[in-house]
Amino acid sequence: MIKPITQSDLLLFFYNEADEVTASVIRENLSDNQEWQSYLLELEAFKSETRSFNLSPNSTTLAIILEESRSQLEHTL
């Protein structure tokens, strides 16, 4: 009997966190399952839309951190 696949399983599969049995059931049956395909496509679209938002700390903040790491090192060694 095929393991029933839930949306939670698909979510874990999408993020590469599904267990091996679940992942192989999804992989083997994905091409025949329109519902799974559209859910995974939805997740992919969501991920690419939201991941465009990516900020970096400013250079002053980074310089302070690096200075602190250097000074701690000198202090410890």
């Binding site: 949306q7 979510l11 839309e49 939201t50 302070i64 690096l66 602190e68 790491s69 250097r70």
Partner: protein
Amino acid sequence: MNAPIIADGVLIQRYMQGNQAAFETLLNRHRNRIFTSIYLLVNDRYLAEDIFQETFIKIINNIQAGKYNHEDKFLPWAMRIARNLSIDTIRSKKRMPVVVDSEGRDVFDCLGISVQSREDEQVNQDEISALKFWIRELPEEQREVLILRNYAELSFKEIAILTNTNINTCIGRMHYAILNLRKKMQKNAVKIK
């Protein structure tokens, strides 16, 4: 051929042995996801800079005091520190009185002191603002899982440990966060490229 990626745990060991470059590699590897996550949690660029700095100073102190014992679980450990500092900051900010003008507006808003960053300005304002707005609008628990999974890139298992819940709760929250966010974006015809 690409050079093999040195594991976080190895970089930490090297830093403890006096290799400053190892620490710089570690910082550069994780800075954006940790900073973006902090920013989305506190929703204020200046606070995010402070919390990010404080997070890494705690990280340095802990490493140099020999208190790091998480092997290659650096990111969940760093995110725990960042999340706790963010929560403390949000709590203390809530206790701070807001200074308003005669019309009840926050004076700092009127002075034009905003959370917008130079980076923000370079990207399409509408897209970024809309995304930030919809993330901010999510229920707190959904927003947190979304930020930790999508931006900090923690696994659901790591998020469950960090937020003191179970993995199924985290998956459920993520599912609803995605559903809500997509619905809001589509309803308002916001297309974020």
